[in-house]
């Protein structure tokens, strides 16, 4: 079974309680329609599980079929260093049908970030190494398309629909709860 080679760490973009019993990691591409479809589903799944679920997003842009995926990922990282990763992330997915560099700078401005700084960062590919590292970590973990989810470190090969994800996370929760409690 394919498993996550890069553990969740301080460099990650994380939502939710760090002590949550289940961690859901998504490798995604901002221009991928399946990822766009999964975006509100992930939100609903997070709401459903509350404090029991931690969510991590990592980049896996398929640049040869999605010409804007790389700049979108770099723009999200630009948001990240300015404390606005998730706002950029949501903004990009919610406007996926008109993804372009002008959209990215527009989103930055709406968040009170400098459109010029973002444009410069995209020009110089300042965040390309971060995106590349996440992509390669995904490749080594067995990511085989987008989106690919990992639940507590194991690749999830089911459907990316609400019920299916909830069922798989429920199973992971049950496994966690059946483990003997550590003493001390």
């Amino acid at each position: 079974m394919a498993s996550l080679r890069v553990p969740v760490g301080p460099a990650d973009h994380v939502l939710g309680d760090e002590h949550a019993p289940v961690t859901l990691v998504e490798y995604g591409d901002y221009e991928c329609p399946h990822c766009g479809h999964a975006h509100p589903i992930v939100k609903a799944v997070r709401k459903h599980f509350g404090k029991q679920l931690r969510f991590v997003y990592r980049h896996f842009p398929l640049t040869q079929i999605h010409p804007h995926a790389e700049s979108a990922a770099e723009a999200a990282e630009f948001g990240g260093v300015n404390g606005r990763f998730w706002e950029m992330h949501d903004g990009i997915f919610e406007n996926q049908d008109r993804l372009s560099v002008p959209l990215l700078t527009e989103l930055a401005e709406e968040l009170g970030l400098s459109a010029e700084d973002l444009a410069a960062a995209l020009d110089s590919h300042e965040f390309a190494p971060v995106v590349k590292a996440q992509f390669l970590g995904g490749v080594r973990s067995g990511v085989n398309g987008t989106p690919t989810f990992f639940i507590n470190g194991y690749r999830y090969d089911g459907m990316n629909e609400f019920e299916d994800l909830v069922e798989a996370i429920d199973t992971a929760l049950a496994e966690r709860q059946s483990e003997p409690k550590r003493v001390g």
Partner: protein, 170 residues
């Protein structure tokens, strides 16, 4: 499921169309690792597509000087359109006539559907299969197995080199 050729087997040679007017032979690629990726058909859904993934990971394969070849029973014109649409930067071979003959030789043909299995082979510099993997046909096997095999192949080559030089020294 088919029984695919195992490591240690000499890779059956082939000459197959790579474009409507060009062909490629395995023996032409001696001296470098070759990755054969058999897959059922062109035009599978984009974001989970095996060939699109390998295209993206191509620079990693090239670090090992490996040549990646995709193989299906689709004809060369179909491959050409598919490769153009997906911006593929590696060759697709047509196992088209006689249909599936190469896939059969590698034990990677699905008789019932008349398509290739999702089967991967890493062939060493001398034309011997170093690693092979048969994936469930609905599951894109990803690139990790191939990269690990290429890494192991490189390590093996290095340790052989060391062995030979230590032999010469003694």
């Amino acid at each position: 499921m088919a029984r695919i050729l195992a490591p240690g087997t000499t890779a059956p040679d082939f000459t197959l169309p790579v474009t409507p007017d060009q062909s490629l032979s395995l023996r032409d690629l001696r001296g470098q690792p070759v990755v054969l990726a058999f897959y059922p058909a062109d035009w599978s859904p984009v974001c989970g597509d095996q060939m699109a993934l390998y295209n993206e990971v191509l620079p990693e394969f090239q670090k090992y000087k490996a040549e990646v070849l995709g193989i299906s029973v689709d004809g060369p014109w179909c491959h050409a359109a598919f490769a153009r649409d997906r911006h593929l930067h590696f060759p697709l071979l047509s196992d088209f006539e006689p249909k599936g003959a190469l896939a059969r030789a590698y034990g990677a043909y699905r008789d019932k559907e008349g398509v290739c299995e999702r089967a991967l082979f890493v062939i060493d510099e001398k034309g011997v299969i170093f690693w092979s993997y048969l994936s469930p046909v609905a599951v894109n096997p990803g690139a990790e197995g191939i990269l690990e095999a290429l890494e192991n192949l490189e390590k093996k080559g290095q340790s052989h080199g060391q062995l030979e030089s230590s032999r010469r020294a003694s």
